[in-house]
Symmetry: D2
Subunit: 456 residues, 4 copies
């Protein structure tokens, strides 16, 4: 066990060790930690802080540690304070006292900041890929099943007839913005903190740009204290995850509702549904429910990350150690939910006949009548009132708008031919009529699909 | 692997299995799950749903599974869907097809609800104990160091001289209320859900009171659907944890401030401080910082638990599976922070001379002057204004209230003898003077200590 | 404008005044503030800190201010720093310099703490009443419509046939626990802080028990610093509101789903539904959606209250001023949602025939078959598997369990008479059969109604 | 009162009206609503849906309503359902039944979405300006007081000597990223939803690009359902506010600590400090405390916005009405805190001599010794251990590093000349030595100031 206790007379307690150790969580970025050390040692050798031989020996030793870790030949001792100390201890065991020179011109503060940014860069690439996959799955759905007629809902009440493709695209665009948000976060965090040391930089003649380049960072952080104290990039990624999870939860909610016995518009692929321990008939939309539930978890992670940094004086404080667990959870959860959602939406069975008959004369065509009156010069507000009365009359008669004839319409002051009426009450015609930019007409759906396919 | 897939034609995917499995988390309540099953089987045997022999065989089998689990001879297969199925599979492997009878007159819904309540009952006992320990540690501190003079702060500005004991008791009372909150939560959740089945109860002639008694529950839940769908007890415990963590974070913040070089009122025990990887002199109050930071995490857990249940239709939905991870984290974090706080406050070194000299004539005695004027009949508001002007004059003179003499006081319209003035500006006398109920006078501190000691 | 700026040479800026003023929010507890002052003055007169005449004059003056406020003759000047200073200024304008004596032996810290607790005591009474009203409305529903057959859902999938009363009671019990939580909070906050002064008590010979009694508090707070610094009671009430809102959001979600065209189990009273500006037929469940949406707002209030107090050193800090806005919002929102929910559930029209025909032979009766097999000695797990296969067969045949005959059952190894089968597949019989404690059988519903009615 | 109740037989209740009305909140965007209507009417006239005369009359009428609103001649009736209906009613009162034609080819769904985006565009400009102001104030501080020596802290313990300018820049860079975040959000929301109607677009031959151009939007939203259902832009702005508030809270915390009696590094300008009602000497850092406390509130707003949209099926649901109150609060709070922070940091008095003497030989120079040893070839880890022992020895001797001489250093194995030692223990030299990119050396501070000044 190697701990930094030079000025202390007593060792720490086991309870405190357990309480303060971040090793278990940080194992996830052990690879990044070693990469950072290799780049650091290489740079120290190049600028002459270490001799070329020392640098080479350190790099070789670190590579050996990395290999041991990858092969499982070595697992960091849980008694170590953190991953950095564990790796340094292993290195020193391998190459002797020279290992102690690795920590020249750096601190754990800039080291952990570097590890975390490296980790984030890779996960943001994963998130981008996963979002791309889900967008693609939705576009494939639109191409294959987009021209299925359905009720467009507001307030979970049938509003107007639409094509399924229109609805699916309404789920797709937010995901495009999610991708942009992650890209924006990436741009802001792509700066290497290594060399910031504790918070004040160093007197050693280091070359931070070189370290950054070796690690693939776009640039270096401009202020050493900001480099170790900032966590806004962590919060920003968590916030983007939380917003993305909101979108996935909305999609999941619809799968739950659409697969209920009463709506029965879709059937989840068997992989994503599960049975009941007591009710043999059940086909529960578990995957969708879990995605929905996990949104809350990511919101909680975000709240934890905000609260933890709130009112912290500069520069590093130990509270910041807590950032990884919340961030890792937010990112892994979002990734898993993106992948499961992709699977769910790809394997879904859609009942394309579900609404076809039922929507003829459905009240969701009422806007058609009002629009027709407005087109004939009646102020829309008055048309809206009139059609409201017609709806009430139909309800009282126990039917829907199919009851309406040119004659009965006239009684409400609506002059209309039988032909106009039939066209009005045809749900497919109603959907096709909405050709305004972004409307539900099939041409508009095709336009969006092209736009989305090319932008990728 | 045993999964409930009778109505399905295809197995689930590995990805979905990982995504939906709660086994890893639920291992924590494996013991409770087996206890619940033993009680259930016992009751089924007593009421005749199972024969006495069947019940005895099930109980023996379950006890053997429990023993295997405890000894480590058996670890549930990660491929199992959840802990309930894993245990039933193990049981069936041990005693054969009779194992399949265990699930008569119950569902996983009421089973998991029971496990969770049993687990909570035990953790609430742990929390009560840990809170009691911290309260005791604080009371011991009051007894030993309570009569150390210090500045009482508001707005982190020195307000009035107080005894340390007064301050410590201000941290103690909220913990007493935390205990009450946990006790209240316990009272509300101490009802056994077992036998509620999926949500509608059962036609089998079960005796739910008997099962409850076997498991040590105070009563049974009154409505089968509420029994499986409710999670308010989980939220309530998490909320009580969040409030408790707020208290611990306030105590921790003070340790961080008090142990800074500028205040230097306390020194953390070495166990609870750690060094720096770069700055050899550092004695960082890491334990206190971690406690402070972990408050955010528990707030996040609470937010997750609220959001997850929000707008969920009855009865059970799979989102609810997510409740354990957040709850377990909130409870374990709070427990650990209580214990670490107890250690920190027990091992703290207090610099009892820190404020003694510095506070003579300190501006924190200004209220004394104003109170004296008020006692002499000057309206307090006017006295307050006058003393404000005196403070300004002293500041401009570059000193503190020690500059004031009976003569200079008179110039501000404050008629006062040199003796009165000396008494006014003596910080210890000022503290002792505040004998109102709950005031900082030593007698009031003693009264509270007795009250708190006896109530325990 | 009266501000406490004796030691300052410059006035504050208008921007800062706006930023820091709490007057607008605190107007809500202006009445409580005056009541507190009247009690304080009365006590000061009784113990002799003020003369009887002074006390009487103060009380009369305060009563006059209260009357002016009530009649609207006086509105506090927005330029005042807070409600306490505004009232004191008004008082001094009325009775002269004696007004300045009112602030003897108290501080704004204990004053605002007292106002807030008085306010909370009254709102907790309102919440109790509102909860009682909603519980009563639900019980009335159970009595009138409880014996309507419906599908009991899990995962929004039909699970087993139940009576509506069973479902409504599952919403009622959590509200009973909400009431208990508010009562617990009340018990913990019913202690008067007045006389704690800034944080250290006072040297004046005050009688805090007397002040408490005059204000109707059960007791006094035991530690002066705790009295002004604690906000756990505010957080606890907000947490209880958040949990209660979770319950209301679940009820609201069901109204939204149940009133959709596809489920059509209920129709919201017209008062609680609204129209669309464009779709004349819409009858949107707006009240239910708003209740659901407002849950998020109360969760946000709770997070604000937790975060705001996190890591605050003792005693009072100005951050605490922010507590009122979040608390008031949480309490008023919960109260409004309770009342609107009461209205919605009272005026709801239920379609009692909705499920009657549709559920004969419905797959939600599958558990009946499995239970029957179990009763015949087949291990439940095996029965569950068998019935799962039967369900699949029925689905493949394009029907439901009505397709099953004694003969076809036998092919799956299920020995059953036609009579047994008919009984199994009768949804009403299935509901009535579940007579276990808390089950859906009508007798169990009646038992709960009596229990809940008597406990009120 | 104009409500859309054509299909309803009964009016709504006053309680429900109060509960569901958004008018009070939406007043804030009344101007944007009228602008949107003017653009819509203009476009309808241009494309021929309305005649040129009708369009002109509508525009004139709307302009008159806007003027009435601005002058206060008209206040919307609180009994109106929302701001849109109130304005339309006022318009119809002015120009008669033609007012009813305004709602052709639009819905309240796209109308409110447009209002909110217009409002956001303006507030994002305000936020950018306010952030720019604070950055400028900090840079001015750096230029004027940047070369004040201070302790650089980690864990609130003195770490290494730095220039104040280094610290201030560490607060500046996060604000630069905040600006970028707001700019990113603006880019994503700068698309006009008008013409999306309820969710499906319209059959009227509208020109959405024209409306967008009239309103100054960069583009139009591509999918009508996404246009009315999306709220990720609202969440994104709130998240950026929450992150920004985290930064302001960190700065505020430091002001609170730095202005305490024990640190006394700064004194807040009188405008931003306030007095106590009981302690005449107090100069409380209220403005800083309020900024700190308000962070919690904005976190709460963000959580409310996330939770409210979670699991909402498409498209519009009434829950979304709640978005404004939380968003407006988050934005206004952040704006106010940015402005107050600018004032606080501009008017701060800094005690430039505070640390000068005290830091000579301070333990914060320990890293210098270790770095020196490392430069002499001792592995840093060993140097770190050695200096830790020296620190302990100095502490035991009751002093600081000034006790160290070349002779005593040698006893610890540290070979050092008296001159090297003096240089090591000179805090200013230590600060100047750290010339690595982003280090605390004055040249690096100047580099950053130039970078930040030019980028603006």
């Amino acid at each position: 066990m190697s701990r930094l206790r030079g000025r202390f007379s007593a060792p720490t307690s086991e309870e405190m060790q357990r309480f303060s150790s971040s090793l278990k969580v940080d194992l996830e970025m052990a690879g990044e930690d070693i990469e950072g050390s290799i780049a650091h040692a290489t740079m120290l050798g190049e600028v002459g802080v270490l001799s070329a031989g020392e640098a080479a020996e350190l790099v070789a030793g670190l590579s050996a540690v990395a290999a041991d870790l990858a092969s499982g030949a070595w697992r960091p001792d849980e008694a170590e304070e953190d991953i950095h100390m564990a790796i340094e201890a292993r290195l020193t065991a391998k190459i002797g006292e020279l290992g102690g020179k690795l920590h020249t011109a750096r601190s754990r503060n800039d080291q952990v900041a570097t590890d975390l940014r490296l980790w984030l860069k890779r996960r943001l690439a994963d998130l981008d890929l996963a979002l791309g996959g889900l967008i693609e799955a939705l576009l494939a759905r639109v191409k294959n099943d987009g021209r299925v007629l359905m009720a467009g809902y507001t307030h979970l009440q049938r509003g107007q007839p639409i094509w399924l493709g229109h609805h699916l695209l309404a789920h797709t665009w937010p995901l495009v913005r999610d991708r942009q948000r992650f890209a924006g976060a990436l741009g802001r965090l792509d700066a290497c903190p290594l060399g910031a040391c504790a918070m004040a930089g160093t007197a050693h003649p280091i070359d931070r740009q070189r370290t950054a380049a070796l690690l693939g960072f776009a640039t270096v952080s401009e202020n050493a204290m900001d480099a170790v104290a900032a966590r806004d990039h962590v919060q920003e990624v968590a916030a983007a995850c939380a917003i993305c999870m909101t979108h996935l939860s909305r999609m999941a909610e619809e799968l739950v509702i659409w697969s209920s016995a009463e709506v029965a518009f879709v059937q989840l692929g068997e992989t994503y549904a599960t049975g009941s321990s007591i009710m043999p008939q059940k086909r529960n939309p578990d995957a969708a429910e879990l995605v929905r539930g996990k949104a809350g978890r990511v919101y909680g992670d975000l709240q934890a990350l905000l609260t933890m940094v709130k009112a912290q004086p500069l520069a590093y404080n130990r509270d910041l150690q807590e950032d990884r667990e919340a961030l890792f959870d937010a990112v892994h959860t979002t990734l898993a939910c993106l992948r499961i959602s992709t699977g769910m939406w790809s394997t879904l069975e859609i009942d394309s006949d579900r609404f076809v008959g039922e929507m003829v004369g459905d009240f969701s065509l009422a806007t058609e009548l009002a629009d027709l009156m407005a087109a004939k010069g009646v102020p829309f507000r008055q048309a809206h009132e009139t059609v409201g009365e017609i709806v009430r009359w139909c309800e009282e008669e126990g039917g829907n708008l199919s009851l309406l004839t040119a004659e009965s319409a006239a009684r409400f002051g609506l002059e209309i031919t039988a032909e106009e009426l039939a066209d009005c009450l045809d749900p497919e015609a109603a959907a096709q009529r909405r050709t305004s930019h972004g409307g539900t007409a099939w041409s508009e759906i095709q336009r969006q699909v092209e736009l989305l396919s090319s932008s990728d």
